[in-house]
Symmetry: C2
DNA sequence: TTGTAGGCGTTATCAC
DNA sequence: GTGATAACGCCTACAA
């Protein structure tokens, strides 16, 4: 059943059938009734989505590209709050949300999902700096809304000043006398696995790299960067255990996300360390759990960030727009003066 | 830039360009290289998704229709676990997940999102019994995977025996001597609002209706059905407060979901009631929070249910398949003998 | 290994 | 108020 066959069955033209669905005012109510009745009788369920998408050039859907597994969208507290805000806005416009996977594991960067996706706009959660996904989207004429301000400065984005966030934490720790700080970062290795020390430029996610840069600017003394896998409590915990078992443990541990920091915090208390007397811990983002666990962190309006992205995604306006959201250092009980 | 213009620019045929992208083995490596290079130069980002979807009849995406707000997918514990399992499976097949909104508020049932969606298969979370969304999907040739066994018995589904689940709870409470039970259900009113008493047939979600039927079969004495809004802690709490403030409060409160039951549980302790000495509370599903709060409930394998749905969604097999998952009454500390 | 031709289902434009 | 026609961009037999 297509518009054409239905039209033939009724003795009208395809255009009229199309109008019956898309422009009720373009034909008499009686004829429209007749068309809809015949459609129901013949099992025609309305214009086909693919045909329509091709013709009108829109699909009423926006994409969210996840750089982790798709289930990350439902499990990571930051992602959950961000996506809740985003979907809240887009659904008010009758637009659906396409969760798109991106396998980073393979050698060849995988952009298949963005090539195949029928979407009007795209946003990317934590894009690795050199990844082609954004460029591919733009080349396809898909509006791109970045979530950082460095990967596409002249395009549309909704971001915070990640470098400044790093500075806030660095200055806070320096002011407390910390000269030996470990920074726990996110890699794509499985969570809680082997711990590795990293060079700065191995930190691929652009926002994390900015935070690290800010930290480096404002910290004095030793700054080491390690990782025990992707963004998860287990990674933070494994990293903390590894750090404290070494001869000269750091006096402060910074997680580049609250999740990593909270993982470290838990591991430290399990190991019998007093926080912040023995070690200070600090995170980023201020997810709900950070407040519940008295974690010092840099707050950002996560839900509002999602909503702002949502607004840009559904707005067909061609001109790029930028939104810079405020951040604030929230000092809680997990940081204190450096020991000794 | 299209396949055609690119082909013209290269002096080859559109078919060859298409093959360069879809069947590398159908042309010489050299020619393919040349095509890809020219494409990069001219800014052609590969075959257009809409055109391709129309032609091949597939879109590499499966839909999940939410009967609540989209953000429900990220906030409700059952939905989160279910969708994590589902997406885990589908992403292994390179398939994306389309979260589709469904506004129930309007008079006319809104099936626009399923009419417009370019998807290969669809599943629906908690479909109201008489809703046309499923029928529309089938009429469009979209494979439908139900999550209950009554709305489309001969189609594909992954379900539990909800009626039996209700019986398990009912028998448990009857065995404990309860003869005055209140059942808290989910309506589409805002959470925690005014409390209303309902007739059985007002319970629209088919799975909830089955649970209620099971309860009615196995309970003796008074059974009343009330609601304070949609599936949320606040609704359960409001319902419990309303129930206990009446002259003859029930001896047991059953939430048709754990979330409703946990909301009731919290409200009861806040009001100073001892559970289960004064009142018993019981839920359904066994989400993680149920175990943490010692709630008696009927367990089902939520994540596995999501994975099973995912497998059916990506499986192009035409023949319908049915999966019935096991359930089990988990007795914890929230239920006990009826007082007096 | 490459080219030709037809149609997937729709809607916008224009004429009547 | 209604109908004819021409794209939209692509893929796949099949022929060369």
């Amino acid at each position: 059943m297509t518009v054409k066959t239905l039209a033939a069955a009724l003795g009208v033209s395809p255009a009229t059938v199309s109008n019956a669905y898309n422009r009720p005012d373009q034909l008499s109510a009686a004829l429209r009734e007749r068309i809809l009745a015949k459609a129901a009788e013949l099992g025609y369920a309305g214009p086909d989505a693919a045909g329509r998408a091709l013709r009108v050039g829109r699909s009423e859907a926006v994409g969210v590209l996840l750089t982790e597994r798709l289930s990350y969208a439902f499990s990571d507290p930051f992602a959950v709050e961000f996506l809740s805000g985003l979907s809240e806005v887009v659904e008010q416009h009758g637009v659906s949300v396409l969760l798109m996977p991106l396998s980073l594991s393979e050698d060849e960067p995988d952009v298949r999902s963005v090539q195949r996706a029928s979407i009007d706009a795209l946003t990317i959660l934590s894009l690795p700096a050199d990844h082609p996904a954004g460029a591919v989207a733009k080349a396809r004429g898909i509006r791109l809304v970045s979530t950082d301000l460095v990967s596409d400065p002249d395009g549309s984005w909704v971001a915070i000043d990640d470098e400044r966030a790093g500075v806030l934490v660095g200055e806070h720790l320096t002011g407390l006398g910390h000269h030996d700080v470990a920074v726990v970062v996110d890699t794509n290795a499985p969570a809680g696995g082997e711990v590795v020390e990293l060079d700065a430029d191995v930190v691929t996610f652009v926002d994390y790299a900015s935070r690290l840069r800010g930290l480096r600017q404002s910290l004095t003394g030793r700054v080491e960067v390690i990782s025990a896998g992707h963004n998860a409590l287990a990674s933070g915990a494994a990293a903390a255990r590894w750090l404290m078992h070494r001869p000269e443990p750091p006096t402060a541990i910074v997680g580049l996300s609250d999740v990593l920091a909270l993982g470290a915090l838990t591991a430290l208390t399990d190991l019998g360390y007093a926080v912040p007397t023995d070690v200070s811990v600090c995170g980023f983002d201020d997810i709900a759990a950070a407040g519940q666990n008295d974690l010092t962190t840099v707050a950002q309006p996560i839900g509002e960030r999602g909503r702002a992205v949502g607004r840009l995604l559904v707005d067909p306006e061609a001109a790029p727009r930028q939104v810079l959201l405020p951040i604030e250092l929230v000092v809680r009980a997990s940081t204190g003066p450096a020991p000794h």
